[in-house]
């Protein structure tokens, strides 16, 4: 008996109309997606209705009607024989063994990869299938393997590569060195205060100048033309049918409803076949408000809600690791709730990955702000971000140096991301850490010529909270990757090691030092030099003066040439206030240092939604 087509069955049942079917079929022709998925994504068919029809079409049983009963029927002992990653990879769930036959639940009855795998692992065993929707599969996996996913998300990196995990802030020898330095300083201050302060002042100034100079050189390297350009023609030549599934992770935590709404619109606006988008909303278990807001926004059916179980540490990377377990795509990216990426960003990423060698496992898009002119703080923030993402990161890439990833819009090859161990849940700048780790393991990170716009924090306290977390995370990254300096030297050479010291360590420590140096300057100024004369004279005063003038000049200069690429000329005059901005960053740096010692894993949540935007 000839099998009836899905569309016919749906028409017969009166679930869809003719014109709906025609449109869906036309779309299917363009994108090559599954008809059922297209219909669900367009909201024309409820997933349960679809799977009932599919069950009828394939002469199978739809087992998702009664989840309670389904749960009862699952043999928990059988589950121990399966790795949940395999279940996710092959999209099935083992139900029970029944008279020598293995019963499985799956949304995709025809899956040769799965069948082959089952044959290898359960030879000479009959396989009986029942249908469930993809959401029910996720739900079952979450229900039964939550703890394992959680353990992997939290401790996976630590158990596999403890030397790369920030679960331990300092290793014993680092603690020994730090204690030694503190004691030496204490003795020095008491027994030879002038000499100690002179040496300290000289070292701080030299280090400060070195990191400023490093940023200048990298910025200059990044000012030359982009090496990876993607033309409009290349984009248009992409065949949607050959586009891979793309997972988008969206970690959400206490987000206001308007942010969720904006997010949902942004997802819909993405120029990528919706049925090839695998969107995961990662919501903390103890955040029912966000869950409610997400449901109320009626996101499309390619959005799955993944509830992150309670646990320690409660951080974004832990949530992302948990979500990574459920990712189905070949590629993956992360966005924040308030992000508005350029519509063609995903296509650009696919093209870029195809162009670049396999060693490129990650691409970082530029970040900038849609509320740049909201107030002075956002203006200065925009200048900084522009320099960072338009000059510094491309400079690092050009010089083949390790790149600390930005907070969002990092695009990964999923397989490589899993090999890297995902994100470090104990690092509050897990993105920066991941970029460094990838480099030191021999992978490369590239720059994607695309921009994601997000909301710049416009309130000072909020800004300091956010910045203190970033700088704390940089210090964590600095400490983690300095555990094996020889390894770093071996894998990435002296320049890679230097990047770790001057860029990763130098950024927070430079900001912290700048506050102290400004304090010294003002003390010198108001005491007419009398107060500090015994301590700072001659060459030491020269070094300090050099930093004061040259260092700050360079900071202003960086801000100034950041405006050119994005035609932000109206922000140029604000570049002169860069020293003030650095002073704020200095305050945040000290806060970060304090938190590193007292609450290293505490995630300072940045409040979003303070700016209402009408469109990019």
């Amino acid at each position: 008996m000839k099998r009836k087509l899905l569309g016919e069955l749906l028409l017969e049942r009166g679930i869809i109309r003719e014109e709906d079917l025609e449109e869906a079929l036309r779309f299917q022709k363009e994108t090559g997606g599954l008809l059922g998925e297209i219909l669900v994504l367009r909201g024309l068919v409820h997933p349960m209705e679809l799977y009932e029809v599919l069950a009828e079409q394939g002469n199978l049983l739809y087992a998702g009607r009664d989840l309670e009963e389904l749960l009862q029927s699952i043999d928990r002992t059988l589950l121990e024989r399966f790795d949940p990653q395999d279940l996710l990879r092959f999209a099935f769930f083992p139900r029970r063994l029944n008279q020598g036959a293995l019963e499985i639940l799956t949304p995709f009855p025809e899956n040769p990869h799965r069948d082959r795998w089952l044959e290898e692992n359960f030879p000479k065993t009959a396989i009986h299938m029942a249908l469930i929707t993809p959401y029910e599969l996720d739900w079952l996996l979450h229900f039964f393997f939550k703890e394992r996913f959680l353990k992997e998300a939290t401790a996976g990196l630590f158990f596999r590569a403890p030397e790369e995990s920030a679960a331990r802030v300092l290793v014993p020898w680092q603690w020994g060195v730090l204690s030694g330095i503190l004691f030496a300083l204490l003795f020095g201050v008491f027994l030879a205060p002038q000499t100690t302060l002179k040496v300290l002042f000289a070292l701080v100034n030299l280090a400060f100048f070195a990191q400023v100079l490093f940023k200048l050189l990298v910025g200059l390297a990044g000012s030359s033309r982009e090496s990876l350009a993607i033309s409009k023609e290349e984009l248009e030549s992409l065949d949607p049918r050959k586009l891979p599934v793309y997972t988008v992770l969206l970690p959400l935590h206490r987000e206001p409803p308007e942010v969720i709404e904006q997010l949902t619109s942004a997802i819909r606006a993405l120029d990528y076949p919706q049925e090839k988008l695998d969107i995961l909303f990662l919501i903390e278990e103890d955040d029912p408000e966000t869950l409610r807001a997400c449901k109320a926004a009626h996101p499309p059916y390619n959005v799955r809600f993944i509830l992150i179980p309670r646990g320690f540490p409660k951080t974004k990377p832990r949530a992302c690791n948990f979500g990574l377990a459920f990712a189905r795509g070949e590629y993956l990216t992360i966005y924040d709730a308030e992000d508005i990426p350029e519509k063609d960003q995903l296509k650009k990423a696919v093209l870029a990955f195809r162009k670049l060698p396999k060693e490129y496992v990650c691409l970082q898009a530029a970040l900038n702000f849609y509320n740049a002119t909201q107030n002075l703080l956002t203006r200065l923030f925009t200048l900084e971000y522009s320099f960072w993402f338009d000059y510094l990161l491309p400079g690092l890439s050009r010089l083949r140096l390790p790149i600390p990833l930005g907070g969002t819009s990092n695009h990964f090859r999923v397989e490589a991301l899993r090999k890297l161990g995902g994100w470090d849940p104990f690092n509050v700048t897990e993105d920066a850490d991941l970029g460094m780790r990838a480099h030191y393991r021999g992978y490369r990170v590239g720059i994607l010529p695309s921009t994601t716009f997000e909301e710049a924090t416009s309130h000072l306290k909020n800004w300091i909270r956010q910045r203190s977390r970033w700088l704390k995370g940089y210090l964590q990254t600095f400490l983690v990757h300095n555990r094996r300096p020889l390894h770093v030297l071996k894998t990435s050479g002296f320049r890679g090691w230097l990047t770790l010291q001057l860029f990763i360590g130098g950024t927070p420590l430079g900001y912290a030092a700048s506050v102290v140096l400004w304090g010294v300057f003002f003390a010198w100024l108001f005491s007419r030099g009398k107060l500090l004369e015994p301590y700072f004279s001659g060459p030491i005063l020269c070094i300090g003066a050099m930093n004061l003038f040259v260092g700050n000049f360079l900071g202003v200069y960086f801000s100034m040439f950041a405006v050119f690429r994005r035609n932000l000329d109206h922000l140029l005059p604000f570049a002169l206030l860069n020293p003030l901005y650095w002073a704020l960053a200095g305050i945040a740096a000290w806060k970060g240092i304090g938190q590193l010692l007292s609450r290293p894993f505490f995630w300072e949540k940045t409040v979003h939604g303070m700016f209402r935007r009408k469109g990019p």
């Binding site: 014993p172 603690w175 503190l182 204490l186 290293p600």
Partner: protein, 661 residues
């Protein structure tokens, strides 16, 4: 007849002109004590001893008319072959046989007539004393020596008419009279007097010179002055800052500064001084201490001494190193004889090196550590080359050893901060640099002289700059508010900057440390000293307002005490009772540097009958917090280490130890 008269007049005129040109001849005799500072008879001991004396020289000295009368006393052990040779600037002057007993030799200096000299002529007396034919026995003999008497005289023939100011200061004198103008005196004049007093004390250090401070009327006596008396008259202002008239030198305060700064340049009789700056580095090289390249010759212990003060080095060193440049004649290839370089610091052996043998000897450089604990305020560095020829070679004619010590040798090291409480032993080390002398409003002659005596005592011991500023009590308030430390005049710096070739350097200008000398008891002044004046009572040990000892002598008295003022070292002088008698008591017993050297403790009390000193506890200063901090710093350090240790342990628990995942 008329032509004879004319001829006679002309002859008289010529004679007068010649007499004027030739100048008035003056014959002076100075003992070696007066002109060379030989305080006691010089002892020449051993087989080949020598004595070098540096005698002052004047441009118009007629060496043909001058001579040296040398008095000596030799022991009976000196044999027939003993001789004495005298050299002037290495020019042979005379040789004599030495006879046991007291004898007098007249040594003409005519051989020096055609030589040219600097300020001094080096007179070297080399003796060869023989007891036997055995050199080694002679070396060990204890009775082989002779005395050169300190009252041996240098007889000079000088031309007085062409004296310059420089000559005025250099010619040996017994008495200096400083004449002040009518009171009241301005601050610059008081300062000039004090500096001049100290300058003279230093200039004639070690010589039996007395300085008198006289009122204006005393100038009349200058006409009756002997050649060994000098008169210096201070005046507030004049057309000429420095003016010499006969035996009297007239100086304004600026003239005093100029003279102190560059006295060798005053080769004339009157001058105007435009500007004077004080900018002098601490002394470091042997040359700075007056030492010249010196060659020692002979056999046995060949010694040379260098005297230096801590003040000249800049303060109390935490570590002191001597870099010594020296060279010597090589020892025989078969070194049976031995030679050592030995360095003694204040009598303690601190360094020994065996002089290597070898054909070729270049200038050597030794870096020698001088232990700070052996240092005092005045120090003697003795460099000795001990050369003993090979055993058995005691015959006459053995090649003597020669070694040269170079004037480029220098001291280096790091200075330590002075620690309270201060005592008299810290003078002048911590009382060098710029002095602020606080005098009473309208000071009396005695008060001025007392201040001069104290300041002169400090500066006589060392050679640090005579930088001084006189303050009256009304100036103290402004001072407490904070004045810049010693600095060249900004106007002068601005002027320098305008000149074309001036280069701006980053090295900081020399900054002199500061200290106080406070005479009297200015109203409202709270002395930070172990002793204080309450009415007529001397109270000691004001510990947190508690006095532990109080004394009220019936006689007028003065008390000199060491303390601090405005966190700088300070010397206080209080008086009680009739001020003139109290000050006279001080002047009677406090002679100058020799008295300062002997003072112990930090409080000295003077009455007309005598003086005594004690060590009293220093009070806690108003800014006692920092001092407490410094005093208990080791305890505080221990506490801080404990706190840091605990913090590090907590950090370990929190950040290093793993928590269960």
């Amino acid at each position: 007849m008329k032509s004879w008269v004319l001829f006679g007049i002309l002859l008289a005129l010529v004679a007068f002109a010649c007499a004027f040109a030739w100048g008035e001849e003056l014959r002076l005799s100075f003992t070696l004590e007066e002109c060379a500072g030989l305080r006691t008879d010089a002892i020449l001991a051993g087989p080949s001893p020598s004595l070098a004396l540096y005698l002052p020289v004047f441009p118009k000295t007629s060496f043909r008319e001058s001579s040296l009368t040398l008095r000596y006393a030799a022991t009976p052990a000196c044999g027939e072959d003993s001789t004495l040779m005298v050299y002037g600037e290495d020019v042979f002057l005379a040789a004599f046989r030495i006879f046991p007993g007291e004898h007098e030799l007249r040594i003409p200096l005519s051989s020096l007539a055609d030589s040219s000299f600097g300020d001094t002529v080096k007179l070297e007396i080399r003796a060869t004393l023989r007891k036997s034919d055995n050199l080694c026995e002679d070396l060990l003999a204890e009775d082989l020596f002779l005395h050169i008497r300190k009252d041996s005289t240098l007889n000079l023939s000088l031309s007085k008419a062409t004296w310059t100011v420089r000559d005025f200061l250099r010619l040996p004198a017994r008495h200096f009279h400083l004449v002040l103008p009518e009171a009241p005196w301005s601050q610059p004049l008081c300062g000039a007097y004090l500096k001049l007093y100290a300058f003279l004390r230093r200039n004639f250090r070690g010589l039996p010179v007395t300085i008198h401070t006289d009122p204006p009327g005393a100038l009349r006596r200058s006409e009756e002055a002997t050649p060994k008396e000098r008169w210096i008259v201070l005046r507030e202002q004049a057309l000429r800052d420095v003016e010499l008239s006969g035996n009297t030198l007239y100086l304004t305060p600026r003239g005093v500064d100029g003279l102190i700064a560059e006295s060798p340049l005053f080769v004339g009789q009157s001058f105007r001084v435009r500007s004077v700056l004080f900018a002098r580095e601490s002394r470091r090289t042997f040359r700075d201490f007056g030492f010249r390249n010196t060659t020692l010759r002979g056999i046995g212990d060949l010694r040379e001494r260098l005297y230096f003060t801590l003040a000249d080095l800049g303060g109390v060193p935490r570590s002191l190193w001597l870099t010594l440049f020296w060279a010597s004649t090589p020892l025989p290839e078969t070194p049976r004889g031995e030679a050592f370089l030995k360095v003694f610091l204040n009598g303690s052996l601190v360094f020994v090196r065996k002089i290597p043998s070898g054909a070729r000897q270049a200038v050597r450089k030794e870096r020698i550590f001088l232990p700070a604990r052996l240092l005092g305020r005045e120090n003697a560095l003795e460099l000795a080359f001990s050369y003993f020829p090979e055993v058995g070679n005691c015959r006459r004619g053995t090649m003597p050893f020669e070694a040269t010590i170079f004037e480029d040798s220098y001291f280096s090291g790091m200075l330590a901060k002075g620690e309270a409480p201060l005592t008299f032993a810290d003078a002048p080390t911590l009382f060098s640099g710029k002095a602020y002398v606080v005098l009473p409003e309208n000071p009396s002659l005695e008060e001025l002289e007392v201040a001069g005596r104290i300041y002169g005592a400090l500066r006589e011991i060392d050679a640090t700059p005579l930088a001084l500023e006189v303050l009256f009590p009304k100036d103290l308030k402004a001072f407490r508010r904070g004045q810049p430390t010693s600095f060249p005049n900004p106007a002068v710096i601005a002027k320098w900057l305008k000149t074309g070739n001036f280069r701006l350097l980053f090295s900081p200008p020399p900054v002199l440390p500061e200290y106080f000398l406070i005479i009297g008891h200015p109203e409202g002044l709270l002395p930070e000293a172990p002793a204080a004046l309450a009415g007529d009572t001397l109270t000691l040990s004001h510990l947190f307002g508690l006095e532990t000892f109080a004394l009220s002598p019936d006689d007028p008295w003065s008390a000199l005490t060491v303390g601090e003022f405005s966190r700088k070292p300070a010397l206080y002088l209080f008086t009680s009772g009739r001020k003139d008698l109290a000050l006279a008591a001080f002047l009677r017993h406090f002679k100058g540097a020799e008295t300062l050297r002997t003072l112990q403790g930090n409080v000295a009390l003077f009455t007309l009958r005598g003086f005594g000193e004690t060590q009293a506890t220093s009070p806690s200063s108003p800014s006692g917090f920092l001092e407490l901090l410094w005093r208990f710093r080791l305890f505080i350090l221990a506490g801080a280490c404990g706190v840091l240790g605990v913090w590090c342990a907590v950090l370990y628990r929190k950040l290093v130890r793993l928590r269960p995942l």
